[in-house]
């Protein structure tokens, strides 16, 4: 029996479930390798060459090279793993969060200071998100 995936109705959210775990394993293990300083140096020296050590799909490689943070989630990235690339780039979690929701850094920081993204209109995909045209 397959577990119900009623969480798919949550907007703007990529639950790292069995399906994503199956396709994202190698992508995330590449990210994990960046915990080691010598691997961070090798990746920065030649990103494409370093990536070729891992069995990533072309889409996964492309998303990493382009730093397409949202794209990485769509091809099986887990945020706790993909954030290692951001750390390697000298970015913070908040920088990446802003990029994933397409907000300029200052605007995102301002939203957080004002109490964060509101639950109003952000609980179900069927309702438009705050600031989004229906």
């Amino acid at each position: 029996m397959s577990a119900p995936r009623d969480y798919e109705s949550i907007p703007g959210t990529y639950v790292y479930d069995a399906e994503r775990g199956r396709v994202g394993y190698h992508l995330n293990m590449f990210c994990m390798s960046l915990n080691k300083p010598e691997n961070r140096a090798a990746f920065k020296a030649d990103e494409a060459a370093y990536l070729s050590r891992f069995t990533l799909t072309p889409e996964q490689k492309d998303a990493v090279l382009k730093r397409d943070w949202l794209g990485m989630l769509r091809v099986g990235g887990n945020i706790y793993y993909t954030i290692k690339i951001a750390f390697c780039d000298g970015l913070t979690f908040q920088d990446v969060a802003g990029m994933m929701c397409g907000m300029p850094k200052d605007e995102y920081a301002k939203m957080m200071l004002a109490g964060g993204r509101t639950p109003v209109g952000n609980l179900y995909k069927t309702t438009p998100r705050a600031g989004e045209k229906s």
Binding site: N78, G115, R117
Partner: protein
Amino acid sequence: MARIVGGIACSHVPAIGVAVDKGNDGNPYWKPYFERIQPAREWLAKLKPDVAILIYNDHANALSLELIPTFLLGTAAEFPIADEGFGPRPVPKVIGHPRLAWHLVENLILDEFDMTIANAMPVDHGLTVPLTVTCGQPAAWPFEVIPLCVNVIQYPPPTGVRCFKLGQAIRRAVEDFPEDLRVVVYGTGGMSHQLQGERAGFVNQAFDQSFLDGMVDDPVRLTQISHTQYMRESGSEGIEMVMWLAMRGALGEHVREAFRYYHVPTSNTAAGLLCLDSE
């Protein structure tokens, strides 16, 4: 006989650790947070615990996707600080309590909670940030720490009910330990937050306030929250709050609220700190 004297629910936002490590805890962004949590540090110091059982999750540091234990208990004599991708945090190494840890392993497994046993592992911000929040920057941590990791990174994590029952089993096991020890239990993570996707930055203050109330008076109500409800209403990473329920289960039926603080934002997250006396 060992006994549980208190419980701490504490967010483990990495930025809190970075603020302290870089000496930024006095700047305008962080000052209000660190000023308000001071009574929690005083409460814990007065409680004089010998050992903490610290329930947290690893963030791709000690563990990877190669092996994903749902529950893991650290039995080592000491735990080094992990390099999470930008060098290890400059905090004291964590000293374990192998005798109590092995006692917990034996008792929990025979009580039908199948713990994975870790004889060697580094610990990351999930464990060290709550120590920083509640103990500041001592030269050595003031008590021994038994790390208890819960998987909340690969869906599905254990249910709230399961975590609450694990806490109850931890209490039984601690009370069965023959040495005279004062034990505190930490439940870490939360509160509402989402770090990923177009909905990043999600915070639900009403959910969090209701959760804090329930932690004191009605944890059984909280055990009924489904995984989808956590992710929808408290953000995809808010699901970490199942770890608070493991702590609450370990405290017994009645608790006294000693301290509560709720703060938005700490980086991308709503941070909560709740100290409970065990009765």
